[in-house]
């Protein structure tokens, strides 16, 4: 006997955070869980060439992200990058890119499973900026960590990627997905009163 079941995806904070349709308004202090949003990571030989062939050339400096229509390109190495979808953009952009990758012959890098390995948090608002020194030992002064900057460092005692948005108003954190609950607890501890939600994706 076979049982037809439609697979659904679940995310660690589904039961702890209320779902919202849109990112909170700028100016307010929020933690928004974007883990359910599409993203794609590639690593290894062929990554840079394949991405360039898709019109997504890796930015020269590894510590700078690049905003393109519908996505943000985050370089992590000469042959490694993660592509984040625009939370309010076309959700199909990443899907189409992934389909193109599957259909491409090599070398094209390897799938880094970034939609599964990492949680994705976005911090916005003045409290978030003020709390940065409590979250990381990274030099986050505006001159050292400007808009579109990317750092692979330690945040909340974990390895993490932290990037500042192109407009400087948001901070994105990518880190071990199994530590999602811990990270939520940590941020609520050091930023009392921060509002929290998740984008359902």
């Amino acid at each position: 006997m076979t049982t037809a079941i439609i697979a659904t995806r679940h995310w660690p904070l589904s039961q702890r955070l209320p779902a919202v349709d849109r990112l909170p308004a700028s100016g307010e202090s929020w933690l928004t869980d974007l883990s359910a949003l599409p993203r794609m990571g590639l690593r290894g030989p062929g990554t840079a060439d394949w991405m360039a062939a898709q019109g997504l050339p890796l930015p020269g400096p590894i510590d700078r992200a690049l905003d393109l229509p519908g996505l943000t390109l985050v370089p992590l190495g000469a042959e490694e990058a993660v592509i984040l979808s625009d939370p309010h953009g076309d959700p199909g952009v990443i899907r189409r890119l992934r389909d193109a990758w599957w259909q491409s012959p090599g070398p094209k890098g390897f799938d880094a499973y970034r939609d599964e390995t990492w949680a994705w948090f976005r911090l916005t608002g003045p409290a978030a900026e003020q709390a940065l020194p409590l979250l990381t030992a990274l030099d986050t002064r505006p001159a050292a960590f400007p808009a579109a900057a990317v750092a692979q460092t330690r945040v909340m005692h974990m390895d993490a990627v932290i990037l500042r948005s192109a407009d400087g108003g948001a901070l994105d954190l990518l880190f071990d997905i199994a530590s999602s609950g811990y990270a939520l607890d940590f941020i609520k501890d050091v930023i009392p009163g921060i509002r929290t939600a998740r984008l359902a994706g």
Binding site: M1, T2, T3, A4, I5, I6, A7, T8, R9, H10, W11, P12, Q15, R43, G44, P45, F110, A112, Y113, D115, E116, T117, P133, L134, T136, A137, L138, D139, R141, A144, M156, H157, M158, D176, I177, A178, S179, S180, G181, Y182, D185, F186, D189, V190
Partner: protein, 961 residues
């Protein structure tokens, strides 16, 4: 009676409001802004504590937290510095180190036995009269006397905050030099943080007098403060203590419950100078304080420090302090100056005020009034040896200064002094560190400010923001007048107040053979108390120099190491939430009522008790696996992706078995050794394609294994991408005779039939709508499938399996059932059945070592250790009957009464109906049929029969159905 001064004094208190607290049960009135010590002084309470050894009464000495006399307890909080902590309404303050009351301390009787307590006495005492005397008599007595204050073991947890900040220039010290340096650097464009431990900027400018014109300091302060506050690039932290300097200008700054770790490109130390007390008989009496302490009491808190004062002018500041006292209405009995001539240019003003000066005189003794609680008079001796008694209730000592050298010495600099101890210098200052003010050797106000400006400019220049100033600001005058440190024939001339060490104690340490200062320190404990030698270092060095006929330069001064001041353990600990990791299936376990347990940072289900007692639930879970089917969340298993041209060759080098020739679609056991030939980890490798391996590792070792692989890949220069995907993939172990039936009940493109999917096969495909990697391996000894899938699909898969298995008796099972199931099969757990010395041969795993491969990590060591022979072997054993002896894991295996091994795994097997276990034993005893002796935790020894492994299903037929 109040000791409050009128208006014009008390810059820190708000007289329009009041507050009250208790000290030893007595009500004390004060004002907001008062410290506990200043409020007590205003109320005539001058005794604050009892000294460590002799229980002598102690009072205000520095009034800035640089001595241990003011340590008090507030409720549950011990060791509070009363001269720093603000008083607040309703707090209950109590003294420390007191037996009875502060004024009638029974502990003071020990002072009568002082002759039996010479320096280092504890090295020669407490050995008798009997062998048991230490444990039964002395240790309890000493333990009861030890420490200052009382620690509450059930105090409410406090919150501590840690943050990290970066700056271009960190200036430590907000006095005139620090303010000048910070302003200059910020004006040049640097991002500056200025740290000041007092609650306001200004340092000595807030309390000291610099000339006959009492307003000079205030005018300088206003000008510097105004400039500082107008600079947006200058961030000020007051009430913050810089507690050390670590490599590359990494500095901890403590402010209340907050630890701010600052990384500075350039560091300016404007740490000022510490005024020094004088050594003479009874120099520790309440009522004897430093000149700066008296000035702080008056200017900050409007407290009259006494009614009738003698002032010891060991430097110019003594005269200036006398002018302040006179302005405050304190009668001056005399100003005692060790110099015969006027060197300070103040004689005219002093004469105009009618203040008597005794030149060429020294202090020999202080005497207490009735009860011994407060100063009543001092004895002064002139150059001819004539002595005179002066009645007073206040002795203000201007004994000169030593520079605030501690942070500079933390950075590797050295403190040096001339032979008279009147001039100091800090040398060997490392790069990116600049000294300013007193730390740079200056002691006159104009020089201090100029040196601060120069230091700020040098820091800015190092950042490329300004031109470096030329030359150094010259030191205009010495630090102090040379004062003798001679012993008084009756003693009680304290060199170290914290440790109650007198001049003779230091002399006796030298006489006992300890000539070097560092040894004198360790032998006598001088400088080891809360003050950390701030006041004891120089006089100790001078005594040692005198007794060893050496110069002060030859003796040196003991070094300084972090921390600069006391720091609570909470600041060092982490009070943020403790790290934990949850698998994607965590909500399912919680919903099913699982009892969760920590495994490192992970949380895993121990058992699903339901309505049963846990022990019965565990048996039920084991039965389910043996008779029907069970599922276990094994998502915490380490998972590594190895992809690339050299993936197979790389695995061949890392692991002991042959992987280069491993067929695609097959799963092979992996055993990793270190270079000593000891077992590092195990797992399985699923070859998914020619250049793609999916490798599992143990939960606890995956990070170490990944790091080792990354290192070796770089060393060998191989083309393989290695990624730790442990959290990305969830994993479910479906095991039991009906496991296949469960999977065949789900939609899938994988053929799970026995012929199509054999033991040690691996398949990739879709199952219940999710992409999966399935391996047919076994840990339980039953038909098993380990299903790996993206973690976001795990909950759906768990629910699909539960639905498909509902009619087949499918149950989730936890770690304890898993532990017993694998034990019944004799499977080892890395880290439990292995240790740092475990070789494959000790575990009977020679079969896992390839004989054909020319190399794998640890091969040479394995062969070398094999040639040496083994001293232990892991074997299986059973206990006949019950476990009355309470055998358990770590129980010792004995031979002739001596330990020769230990039990590594143990439990009751429902499948074979016996207590079974694994243990290390001598090889000749670790053979089936032999007996081993085990000592249980009840203390009883029991014999156990060694048996062949596995305990259950010896032919391993059940896992291959």
């Amino acid at each position: 009676m109040t000791n409050r001064l009128g208006s014009g004094w008390g810059s820190r208190i708000d007289r329009s409001r009041g507050l009250a607290f208790t000290f030893e049960g007595r009500r004390v009135a004060g004002h907001p802004g008062d410290t506990i010590a200043s409020a007590l002084a205003a109320n005539g309470e001058w005794v604050l504590s009892r000294s460590f050894k002799y229980h002598r009464p102690r009072g205000i000495l520095t009034m800035c937290g640089q001595d241990a006399n003011t340590l008090v307890q507030i409720g549950e909080e011990p060791n509070v510095r009363a001269d720093l902590r603000l008083a607040s309404d309703g707090i209950a303050v109590t003294p420390q180190n007191v037996k009875g009351s502060l004024r009638r301390d029974r502990g003071q009787i020990i002072e009568r036995f002082g002759r039996f307590l010479p320096v280092g006495f504890y090295y020669r005492t407490f050995f008798g009269p009997r062998r048991s005397s230490w444990l039964k008599l002395w240790e309890p007595m000493i333990r009861a006397s030890a420490g200052l204050g009382t620690v509450s073991t059930d105090a409410a947890p406090r919150r501590y905050v840690k943050e990290t900040r970066h700056c271009d220039v960190l200036v430590v010290g907000g006095g005139p030099a620090g303010l000048a340096a910070a302003v200059r650097a910020a004006e040049a464009g640097a991002g500056v943080i200025l740290v000041e431990k007092e609650p306001e900027l200004g340092g000595a400018l807030t309390y000291a007098r610099f000339a006959t014109d009492a307003g000079l300091g205030t005018r300088h302060l206003s000008a510097l403060r105004d400039r500082a506050l107008a600079l947006p690039g200058l961030s000020v932290m007051t009430g913050a203590t810089c507690n050390g300097r670590f490599a590359n200008n990494w500095l901890p700054v403590i402010s209340g419950n907050r630890l701010v770790r600052i990384r500075a490109t350039e560091l300016v130390l404007a740490t000022g100078a510490h005024e020094q007390p004088l050594v003479f008989r009874n120099n520790d009496l309440p009522g004897i304080m430093l000149s700066s302490a008296a000035q702080r009491l008056m200017r900050h808190y409007a407290v009259r420090p006494g009614q009738r004062a003698v002032v010891y002018a060991g430097d110019r500041d003594g005269y200036l302090a006398a002018l302040d006292l006179d302005d405050a209405g304190v009668r001056i009995a005399a100003i005692v100056d060790p110099e015969a001539e006027d060197r300070d240019g103040l004689s005219e003003e002093l004469a105009r005020r009618g203040l008597p000066i005794m030149r060429g005189c020294t202090l020999t003794e202080a005497k207490a009034g009735p009860g011994g609680l407060h100063l009543q008079s001092v004895e002064v001796q002139d150059a001819a040896g004539t002595r005179k008694r002066l009645d007073c209730d206040l002795l203000v000592v201007a004994g000169g200064y030593t520079p605030g050298y501690q942070l500079a010495l933390h950075a590797g600099a050295r403190l040096a002094s001339d032979d008279t101890g009147t001039r100091f210098s800090i040398t060997d200052v490392p790069a990116h560190l600049h000294l300013a003010g007193a730390a740079a050797g200056l002691s006159d106000l104009d020089g201090v400010i100029a040196s601060g400006e120069a230091a700020g400019l040098r820091a800015a220049a190092a950042l490329g923001l300004a031109s470096a100033p030329e030359g150094a600001v010259p030191a205009a005058c010495a630090w102090r007048r040379s004062a003798p440190v001679e012993p008084h024939p009756k003693g009680r001339d304290f060199v170290d107040f914290d440790e109650d060490l007198q001049v003779k104690d230091i002399e006796n340490a030298v006489a006992d053979g300890y000539r070097e200062l560092e040894l004198v320190k360790r032998y006598s404990t001088v400088g080891m108390g809360p003050s950390q030698g701030r006041h004891a270092a120089l006089p100790t060095a001078r005594i040692v120099a005198r007794k060893t006929a050496r110069s002060l330069a030859e003796v040196g001064i003991t070094t300084s190491r972090p921390p600069f001041g006391p720091e609570k353990l909470g600041l060092l600990a982490d009070t943020t939430p403790e790290r934990y990791r949850h698998t994607a299936l965590h909500p399912c376990h919680v919903q099913a009522g699982a009892r969760m347990m920590p495994v490192g940072a992970w949380w895993r289900p121990f058992v699903y008790p339901g309505s049963e007692p846990p022990a019965e639930a565990i048996l039920r879970e084991i039965r389910a696996v043996r008779e029907d089917v069970g599922m276990l969340d094994v998502s915490t298993l380490g998972k590594l992706e190895l992809r690339g041209r050299d993936a197979a060759a790389f695995l061949d080098r890392i692991y002991t078995m042959a992987h280069a020739g491993q067929p695609v679609g097959r799963v092979r056991y992996c055993l990793a050794l270190n270079e000593m030939g000891s077992i590092l980890d195990d797992g399985v490798a699923f070859r998914m394609s020619e250049q793609h391996f999916y490798v599992t590792a143990t939960t606890g070792a995956v990070d170490r294994l990944f790091a080792e692989m990354t290192l070796q890949k770089a060393i060998w220069g191989m083309q393989v991408d290695i990624q730790n995907v442990t959290a990305a993939f969830a994993a479910i172990n479906l095991t039991g005779p009906k496991a296949r039936a469960v999977l065949q009940g789900l939609a899938s493109d994988i053929d799970f039939s026995r012929d199509a999917f054999g033991f040690l096969d691996g398949r990739e495909g879709m199952l219940a709508g999710s992409p999966v990697r399935v391996m047919r391996i076994g840990f339980t000894g039953e038909l098993s499938y380990e299903i790996h899938l993206p973690q976001s699909h795990a909950v759906g898969m768990w629910q699909a399996l539960a639905a498909a298995g509902a009619g087949l008796g499918l149950r989730p099972y936890g770690l304890e059932a898993s532990r017993i199931l694998r034990l019944e099969k004799g499977h080892i757990i890395i880290g439990q059945d292995t240790d740092a010395l475990s070789t494959p041969d000790q575990l009977g795993m020679g079969w896992a070592l390839s004989r054909k491969k020319p190399f794998y990590t640890g091969k040479a060591a394995v062969e070398a250790r094999r040639a040496l022979g083994e001293t232990r072997q892991l074997c299986g054993f059973v206990l006949e009957g019950g476990n009355a002896a309470e055998v358990g894991e770590s129980a010792l295996v004995l031979r002739d009464g001596q330990p020769v091994g230990h039990v590594t795994s143990f439990g009751h097997s429902p499948s074979v109906g016996k207590w079974i276990g694994l243990a290390y034993a001598p090889p000749e005893q670790a053979v089936p049929g032999a007996q081993i002796r085990i000592k249980g935790f009840s203390g009883t020894e029991v014999s156990a029969a060694v048996v062949a492994l596995p305990f259950y299903d010896p032919t391993n037929a059940r896992q291959e159905i």
